[in-house]
Subunit: 331 residues, 2 copies
């Protein structure tokens, strides 16, 4: 994988996070599933925003967050996705490029606005996400840059984007280009409810096209409709040659056909905001994998990046992950 | 002052802050005056933003920040100012209202966009501000709500807004309404360069209309074109019956015709971002003053609020100032 200039090219949703603190009663009163992501329309976004406390805005999106994290480790990433020609679109593109991620997509002149996510953070640091996809719903094969996919060691796809009507075809097409060009295909399942909505599609693309899968234990249990993690892991080993399964505070499992590697979590002083934890775990893992590190080191880099991002508000690193990794003499 | 429902009504610029960290070399290379505010046009805003690192967005503006701080103490505030009908305008209005501040202004349908400030925070926590005023340049007497001014114990004006071509007349008109309605008139000088630009206007409005002045020592020295703080204080006492002069880490001075009260600074663990320090000092002071506390307590409340806001990124409190004040058995 060494002769390709990009470590990762991502394809997914471009989102600006609007982050506010709230108490647990607010989550209950709004009938939200704490810790999950739900899709909302413009009207619901307006209604819920009107009830939320003062917020801060930060560029987000699961794949963009991972691309930024990988860049912070010293890797080279590119992102393919849709923003509109509006202020949030400018913010998103600026923050991605300023972080060093290649982003060549032009903002859409008309149609829906840039996607945004109303992120509610409870006192325990858990985030509950309400996403208005906006122009992301128009994500299609038109966003693909075949040359960029060919120039990347890994292609990284998100489950969330399957909610767009044309995204699935774009994913299959991207995965096909990747195969042809010797680019490894990776996918994150994103969210248990997302898995419920797209289980068959996910299983199909995993079996046919995915070389490396990211999932948390809730998503994996949802994928195989079981309560037994061991059973789910056994079945996943049959469907996918390599997977990283995160388990919140219990660390992660790396699954290959032959073995299961346990990776410990990095301790943090206080969990402030879990937004981006999974995205940054993937960033560390993908960086390690692209650079040919042993799998346990890939997992360790994932844990380090996740620990950094849950220590502050917002889904992107505020500290150089390359420096953090050095402290662990890992890179 | 007890029969008026609002403690403070503010008139000033509505701004969304775009906050990024940078090193001192960047400030030097861009030829910026570290710690100050400069006005920039749209083209310069685009150019500088393109050079800035990844940022976060937070509603700001000196008077709005003060209104939010006063509300956090348990006070009641209203704000009069201009936003455009765009995403930053929505963010600004939402954050102000969600904080409990009354904001009745309707977004402007056309013209310039909502104002924004590119805030560069150096490792020492000092902020250097680059403001594109946008629709704030159209601030005029049309924004005034005479009834609201009459219903408020204090009117609070900012020096920054004098940069708008019609704002000065609006300020005189607002001050006139305040006089007629028994509302105390307060003003912050905002910035030393702003004082340089509008010295004569400031001296005129201070002598004619201002009951309570806020300034930092740099602004005060600029106002009286002296290097001698004692001389400047003596002259200010002749021009204004009450003033609070902040001196960064040296605390503040409260000046009346007859006395000078020294107020100590509140210690903080680490200065993260000084954005909003002066705004929040004013919030604490105005809250105490509106509620009839002794002047030394007003200053103390200002110090508490300033210490909170410099302990984190962003210009508005993240902790209940009423709770903080309680810990000091002050309110």
């Amino acid at each position: 994988m060494t002769d390709k200039p990009f470590d990762v090219v991502g394809l997914g949703s471009a989102i600006v996070d609007i982050i506010a603190r709230c108490d647990d009663d607010f989550i209950t009163a709004q009938g939200l599933d704490k810790g999950s992501m739900r899709l909302i329309d413009d009207a619901e976004a307006t209604r819920l925003y009107g009830l939320m406390g003062p917020a801060v805005e930060s560029s987000g999106g699961t794949v963009p967050n991972t691309c930024v994290g990988l860049t912070s480790f010293g890797g080279k990433a590119a992102f393919m996705g849709r923003v509109a020609k509006d202020q949030f679109g400018e913010v998103f593109a600026h923050d991605l490029r300023a972080a060093g991620v290649t982003f060549n997509s032009q903002p859409a002149e008309d149609g829906e606005p840039t996607g945004r996510c109303l992120v509610l953070v409870t006192p325990d640091g858990e985030r509950t996400m309400n996403t208005y996809l906006g122009t992301n719903t128009e994500l299609s094969a038109a966003e693909l840059d075949a040359q960029l996919i060919g120039q990347s060691k890994l292609l990284y796809l998100e489950g969330y984007a399957f909610d767009g009507p044309n995204a699935k075809n774009a994913f299959y097409e991207a995965a096909g280009i990747a195969r042809d060009q010797g680019t490894t295909v990776s996918l994150t399942l994103s969210d248990p409810f997302c898995v419920e909505r797209h289980r068959d599609s996910f299983l199909d693309i995993i079996k046919r096209s995915v070389d490396l899968l990211f999932a948390n234990h809730h998503e994996l249990l949802a994928l195989y409709q079981t309560e037994d993690l061991e059973e789910a892991c056994t079945r996943l080993k049959q469907d996918c040659s390599l997977a990283a399964v995160t388990q919140s505070s219990k660390g992660s499992l790396i699954l290959t056909k032959d073995e299961t590697i346990e990776v410990a979590v990095e301790s943090v002083n206080a969990v402030v905001d879990t937004t981006g934890a999974g995205d940054l775990y993937a960033a560390g893992f993908l960086f390690g994998y692209a650079r040919g590190y042993p799998l346990n080191v890939c997992g360790k880099l994932g844990s380090i990046a996740a620990a950094e991002v849950i220590s502050h508000i917002g889904p992107r690193p505020q500290t150089s992950l390359a420096e953090l990794a050095k402290q662990y003499t890992l890179s």
